[in-house]
Amino acid sequence: MGLRRSQAVTLISGEAIRFLVTLIGRSSIAFPAQWVRGIVMPTAVGGDGLVTWANVSYEHSDLAERLKLASHGRSAETRVVLYGHDDQGKSFEVDKVLGLVDVERTLIHPLPPHFRGGERDRVLGFFADKDSVALIANPFWVLDLPNRKQALDLFALRLSAHGPGETDVRLQLPVARLDAVAVGQVG
């Protein structure tokens, strides 16, 4: 089952969450897309550690380090994601932007209870494609906002208003396919 096909499922229940899917190191990390305000080149980061875009300044943070993920390092595909809600904004580097994907709520799984540590604050859950899995970063943790229960409810959207395969015109990103993410050998 590909994620494109999961969109057809989405139309049945009419509720899904749109994610920006990225790569950080070997991990596929997804962010609720409603708080994505832009994607810029790494050169946009000023010497003062701020990214200013559309007259708004975003504090730059090392999200890979915060997530304890080993980034591949800067490459031609490295991008800076501008993420914000109300007055709170942060920017962070990702190794690659895969694109946007709408995921049916029922296909989003919480972290299994076997995970008992601080990762429960950082990662809300995951969704899976045929060959890979995207971990959902907690947007409240990303922005250092107070955590809240059922955080993803805030981002639910009714996909009946959107056609399958439709892209976000503002960001002009393709619909992501996670097939591009290789499954690693760990554990």
């Binding site: 089952m1 070997r26 991990s27 596929s28 997530l67 304890k68 993920l69 799984h109 972290l111 299994p112 209870p113 076997h114 995970f115 008992r116 540590g117 601080g118 990762e119 950082r122 990662v123 995951f126 899976a128 060959d131 890979s132 899995v133 971990l135 499954v183 690693g184 050998q185 760990v186 554990g187």
Partner: protein, 159 residues
């Protein structure tokens, strides 16, 4: 005999049980280290498809593995026993854990099912709550792993 005395007897450092029905055990290997577990704690063995790392602080639970339509958390038994993982073919032992199904990467040798007299099992309460004791097989002492509660106590201690 008082209940307290009975409890104390049950938690003596080492005891052998030579009576009762034979115990069904599964013997498997993790990174070359052979170990055993009770069959009733094992849900099955499937092919190992590779793990997806999760940035986790939970000891030894640091990845997910695909299984059918979903994902299972992986307990890194090789890391717990400080065994360097061997690259190559592996199998996935699916465990009936108290928190839900759990996956363990094991060596490619198919686990063997053994029916053993209880006298060959030495149960002991040691420092490691994940080990129930040892199974003596052919002069070899195999640790018996408490698969159903693997990591539960150590996580609480760490937390």
């Amino acid at each position: 005999m008082l209940r307290g005395q009975l409890r104390k007897q049950g938690t003596t450092a080492r005891r052998s049980t030579g009576e009762g029905r034979p115990q069904h055990m599964v013997v498997f290997a993790v990174a070359g280290k052979r170990m055993a577990a009770r069959t009733e704690e094992i849900a099955g063995v499937v092919s190992w498809t590779g793990a997806i790392p999760v940035p986790s602080e939970t000891p030894f639970v640091t990845s997910l593995v695909r299984q059918q339509e979903g994902c299972l958390p992986v307990f890194d038994l090789a890391a717990k026993f400080k065994q360097p993982i061997r690259e190559g073919e592996s199998l996935c032992l699916v465990v009936k854990h108290v928190d839900g199904p759990l996956a363990i990467r094991i060596d490619a040798e198919v686990p063997s099912l053994q029916t053993v007299p209880r006298s060959s099992l030495q149960c002991h309460i040691g420092d490691d709550p994940d080990c129930a004791g040892v199974y003596v097989a052919g002069g070899e002492q195999l640790p018996i792993i408490n698969l159903a509660t693997l990591g539960v106590s150590s996580s609480r201690q760490a937390g």
